[in-house]
Amino acid sequence: MTGLQPAFRIRFALSLLCLLFAFPAQAQIKVASKLFTESVILGEIARSAIASRTDETVIHARELGGTRVVFNAIEAGEIDVYADYTGTLRFETLAGEDVATDAGLRAALAARGLKMTASLGFSNNYAIALMPDLAAELGVETISDLRDHPNLVFGVASEFLDRADGWQALKAAYDLPQTDARGMIHDLAYRALASGQTDAIDAYTTDPQIAQYDLKLLRDDRGHFPTYDAVFIYRADLPAAAQAALEALAGSLDEAAMQQLNMRAQLGGEAEAVLAAEIVSEVLGETVEAAAQKSRTARIWQRTKEHLVLVGIALSAALVTAIPLGIAAARLPRFGSIILGGVGILQTIPSLALFVVLIPFMGIGAVPTVFALFLYSLLPIVRNTHAGLSGIAPGLLDSADALGLSRGARLRRVELPLAAPTIMAGVKTAAVIAVGLATLGAIIGAGGYGQPILTGIRLASTPLILEGAIPAAILALIMQWLFDLAERWITPRGLRLRQAA
């Protein structure tokens, strides 16, 4: 029976966990965006268009994740709408399927319960860009002209360097002689170009930096780059009015307009919601009030609540699971090494990978985040429970047995009180780690302090990054302090005397 008991407790704890997760899903329409500014603006436009034409509650999960995360989420029904590009769908997401034509693309999406609007009016294509004075000096107009200048240095996005349809394909298509191409983060490539460290870069045609630096875009005279038409992808089961609102946006934004919006958001610091409200009033003729920007205090308070909910649920679930596991590990040495090894391995899974791996099973948002935090909280608590129980002097256990205490009474009256300070120290470690790790939850839409950090990285805004980082650090310190108090409170008085002696 003793072998079954821990298993039963694990099951009990897991079912408790499921209960926590089974919050009734509210009926609402969920828009999402990828991790770059244009995607967030388009997300805001979709949100405000649907909200203006329907009575539904529409929310926007900003910066939900990269292409793969967002597509998985809409396939799983976790979100309903997001903006994408036909080229990305053809060559990345649905690569290998029969999607060369728009009809083929629509069919492949329909098979997944998805629909696509007509083009929003602009495409965001790859282009090769040079600083204007260098282009004038070299007299280059087309990509073919680059063949005469073999010593030019390219600085391209790492992704472009690696992709089959990227740098190598471009070189082959144009017989380009240049050999020096360096991979870097896209936003940084512009700075390297402007400072003269590179001569040419791969630009996206709606990037605001093109206007900012007045860059020369070379004509793709061999028609090498595919077209990346911007479209909304949405679930086919979306209410008809919402679908109509999205379709009404088709053809409403040209390249110059999108570039302008990107510039105002990224370089001018204007709120995406304000920009979106403008576009929706213009295109749909609906008066849309941009939600008033919350004060900084209100934002931080909101995120503190989100952060505390993530950490609180994960930690409570870890407590009711890890303490019985730690007891089982101390009681049954063979089983114990399996348990300790198991939770140890969980700890080694890279957290970013774990978040993404969980999406197909748990979707996005708070649920997978809480689950990941729960898994990471197990090790410190299990290990300390095991250590606390194993560290009790054998003479005391003999005394307890000789008194005639049953195993249960011995555990309750003697072992757990003696191990309590050590267990508590494990809980404290888990709590502090969880506060830090929970900031990663923002990349899968869980909110919390990670949200301003993500946005801050996207907009290169240090104040915004600090708006997440400082409260997270303070919360970790408060946790540390609170658990120090709790540790003192839970340590029996007799043990404190012994430590002092």
């Binding site: 003479g395 005391l396 003999d398 005394s399 307890a400 047995d401 000789a402 008194l403 005639g404 205490l405 049953s406 009474a409 009256r413 003697v414 009180p417 003696l418 029996p492 008085r493 007799g494 043990l495 005397l497 012994r498 002092a500 002696a501």
Partner: protein, 235 residues
């Protein structure tokens, strides 16, 4: 009280106790004596049901089948008392009574008087008590359920000489007054002969000689017996 037939203990390939047979008579005190590693504590732990041996062990005339019951008829005291540091002296003493739902508050007073423990000492934690007081609390705790047998593992070894002599007197007195059967483990020959004239000298997990101190002196069964006696005399 106890009847041991071919009792032995081994951990894997390590032999802690070679087959030993002996009787412990009711109302008498038996002393297990020997150097460290001689197996005397292991033998005591067998009698306390803390180690499961090979062989047949009978308690009160019947082979032991349910240790949980038998343990309540045994009081076990180790060096320094073995008190739980998170409980006060009184809570230590009453732990098992409370577990069994017995109201033994009056008995605590009785036994405290017998062992010269003050009221205020009963409400202190082990860390706030002297070594001698801790040992008294350990003895009271062992006596709470009025056991038939007291098993004492080096009860005086951690104490300084004056306190040790005083407590030895009291302990012998308590065992006599309450008419308990007692088995006491010690490495000190003078302590052994103070408590009893029935000594069991052990070495390397085996019994070397059984008898009184006078027997050991007059008729040593082995050169080790003489060596052991001389060693203590010298110091």
């Amino acid at each position: 009280m106890y009847s041991l037939q071919n009792i032995s203990v081994s951990y894997g390939t390590t032999i802690a106790l070679r087959p030993v047979s002996m009787e412990v008579e009711p109302g008498k005190t038996l002393v297990l004596i020997g150097p460290s590693g001689s197996g005397k504590s292991t033998l005591l732990r067998v009698m306390a049901g803390l180690v499961t041996p090979e062989g047949v062990l009978a308690f009160g005339g019947a082979p032991v089948t349910d240790w949980q019951r038998v343990r309540r008829r045994i009081g076990y005291v180790i060096q320094d008392g073995g008190l739980f540091p998170h409980l006060t002296a009184r809570e230590n003493i009453l732990l098992m009574s409370r577990e069994l739902g017995l109201d033994n508050a009056a008995r605590v007073e009785e036994l405290a008087a017998l062992t010269h423990l003050q009221q205020d000492q009963l409400d202190r934690y082990p860390a706030e008590l002297s070594g001698g007081q801790r040992q008294r609390v350990g003895i009271v705790r062992a006596l709470m359920l009025d056991p038939d047998v007291l098993l004492l593992d080096e009860p005086l070894s951690a104490l300084d000489p004056v306190i040790r002599a005083g407590l030895a007197d009291e302990l012998k007195n308590i065992i006599g007054t309450l008419k308990k059967t007692a088995v006491l483990v010690t490495h000190s020959l003078s302590e052994a002969r103070f408590f009893s004239d029935r000594l069991v000298l052990m070495r390397g997990g085996a019994v070397v000689q059984e008898g009184s101190y006078a027997d050991f002196e007059a008729r040593p069964a082995d050169p080790f017996v003489t060596e052991f006696i001389d060693a203590e005399r010298k110091l």
